[in-house]
């Protein structure tokens, strides 16, 4: 009798003890703040005073009327689109080229993937220096007689967003290359042999064998790049903080300014919820693709 209860007790206790450390930290510092951000978004709150004032959908209505919010929203999409084109398009091409090289493959791959481990603030520091009006990029353009292309990259509202997106792509494309390489290795060799027998050129084989086989992997890279680019904060904050004249303002930097710097927690939270919804939807789609691929 006694041993029966004690074994039942241990049956309940064992999983609890194993889960407790992870679960306690996770629920307190990830799940609770996530629920709170939704709660904040229905209130007016300065982040300090004990009272929050219920304003219902007020913050969301203000958001929909806020010209700067929509500017940040558009910028975030343009930013993501640019990065997706580079990381998915160029990432696939580089991976396809790397997969056909044997000697020197490791050193080439290492050089291309290495920036992936650099901190966004490191990347920001390096590129801010290179983008200076008298920096190395403009010097290089002048050196080869393309004087007209030299421009103050981070000071010009027309190019700043893409200049920073390019720097972000420099440091993240390695991840796409790795994932594409893994996908390419899984493509059936026999298909290539069959294409060769049929007289297909390398490019035709790439178009008709490689690309269809890589469709699921491409979807994965697409969504990963999308979610990662929506979450970006560090590289913008460490270079332009959204300027000049808001031309590199993203949802994340705008939220930080309104919420954390201006102590407008309710409004900042509403922007946070918008981010949360967009990224969660993309992630759910991603997981569905992953599941289909595994099945």
């Amino acid at each position: 009798m006694f041993s029966d209860t004690s074994s039942r007790l241990s049956k309940v206790l064992a999983p609890l003890l194993f889960l407790l450390p992870a679960l306690a930290i996770y629920l307190t510092f990830a799940i609770y703040p996530t629920l709170s951000v939704v709660q904040y978004s229905f209130h007016d709150w300065d982040g300090i005073s004990p009272d929050m004032e219920w304003v219902g959908l007020g913050n969301y209505l203000e958001m929909f009327d806020d010209r700067i919010f929509w500017e940040a929203f558009r910028n975030t999409f343009a930013w993501s689109a640019f990065i997706i084109v580079i990381n998915v398009g160029l990432g696939l091409v580089i991976a396809a080229m790397l997969s056909r090289v044997w000697r020197a493959r490791l050193i080439l791959q290492t050089a291309i993937v290495l920036p992936v481990v650099l901190a966004p603030v490191t990347v920001a520091t390096i590129w801010r220096w290179m983008y200076q009006p008298d920096g190395v990029i403009n010097e290089a353009f002048r050196g080869v007689g393309l004087e007209a292309l030299a421009t103050p990259w981070l000071g010009s509202p027309d190019v700043v967003l893409f200049a920073l997106a390019f720097a972000h792509s420099w440091s993240t494309i390695g991840l796409s290359v790795i994932i594409f390489l893994a996908g390419l290795q899984a493509v059936d060799e026999d298909l290539y042999d069959a294409a060769k027998v049929d007289g297909a050129t390398t490019l035709q084989a790439f178009r008709h064998v490689t690309m269809p086989a890589l469709r699921p992997v491409t979807a994965v890279v697409f969504i990963l790049t999308l979610t990662a680019s929506f979450k970006v904060f560090d590289i913008i904050w460490a270079t332009t903080q959204g300027g000049p004249i808001r031309s590199s303002e993203l949802l994340s930097t705008y939220m930080y300014k309104r919420g954390a710097l201006e102590n407008n927690y309710g409004y900042g939270a509403a922007i946070g919820v918008a981010l949360l919804v967009i990224v969660s939807l993309a992630t759910i789609i991603y997981m569905q693709i992953q599941e289909k691929k595994d099945a």
């Binding site: 510092f29 603030v121 520091t125």
Partner: protein
């Protein structure tokens, strides 16, 4: 044959362009003042470490380095334990509500840190942990633990159930099985977890900016950010600071490249 060389040439050009920004930064950090007028792609002729010494002592990077190592190392070690224990329960122990719990952990893969920083700040403050390394460590662990629980879970699923059963029959407790049977054969996923969490923690700016406002608590990421604001003209010091921040993660990457690659492809969701 020609096509093969062309391919190699194109790839070499890409690799050189990809490495150029990092290499030029290292060059600049080693140049004496007399060589600063040279183009950035010129290697230093009389390399000097004076900028590193200056940044490390006067710039406070020595202190920031210590803070960063402390936070990242604790993050990595604790993450290995809490994630592997949770995954052990999810795979080897039967208990009610497991499916719900899996769903709760799944949520963690979707939450963008950026979206929840305001309530996260309030939560950490309500524990009195602003300006405490513990506060950042707890936030780091909470926001990444899901990724690693799933990484450990998918590894543990591959361990034969018979191994667990046999240990059970020998009278071992769950904790003994976890420590003496399961952990010793999980080296690959342990290494990957430690490396990835260390790197994420090392590189993060946003949480440190928010949770460690006091100067003496600063990490390298915040130090570099502030340094950039105050030292815009002193490019040698700035590049030395950049290199100091990059060297540890680059070294880890070069040593454990295969683990990194595997981890980043499977943990890429974060």
């Amino acid at each position: 044959m020609f096509a093969r060389y062309l391919l190699l040439l194109v790839l070499t050009v890409i690799a050189v362009l990809m490495s150029a920004p990092s290499i030029m930064t290292v060059f600049t950090s080693l140049k004496p003042a007399t060589e600063l007028g040279d183009p950035a792609w010129f290697p230093p002729l009389a390399p000097t470490f004076e900028h590193y010494v200056r940044v490390w002592t006067e710039g406070g990077f020595g202190k920031y380095f210590g803070n960063t190592v402390l936070i990242s190392a604790i993050d990595a070690v604790v993450m290995i334990f809490i994630a592997s224990m949770a995954a052990y329960a999810m795979v080897f122990i039967d208990f009610p509500g497991k499916l719900l719990l899996k769903f709760v952990f799944l949520l963690g893969l979707m939450i963008p840190v950026t979206a929840i920083i305001l309530p996260l700040y309030s939560t950490v403050r309500s524990f009195g942990l602003i300006n405490s390394h513990l506060g950042v460590i707890l936030a780091d662990l909470a926001l990444a633990v899901s990724v690693f629980v799933f990484m450990f879970t998918s590894y543990f699923v591959g361990i034969p159930k018979a191994l667990h059963e046999a240990a059970r029959i020998d009278g071992a407790s769950e904790f003994q099985i976890y420590r003496r049977v399961v952990l010793p054969i999980s080296a690959p996923v342990i290494v990957t977890t430690g490396l990835l969490e260390f790197m994420w923690s090392w590189n993060d700016l946003l949480l440190r900016l928010l949770l460690l406002p006091r100067e003496d608590m600063r990490t390298l990421s915040v130090g570099l950010l502030n340094f950039q604001g105050t030292q815009t003209r002193d490019i040698t010091a700035l590049s030395a600071g950049t290199v100091i921040m990059a060297v540890p993660v680059v070294a880890l990457f070069l040593i454990f490249q295969r683990h990194f690659v595997r981890g980043m492809t499977s943990g890429a969701v974060k």
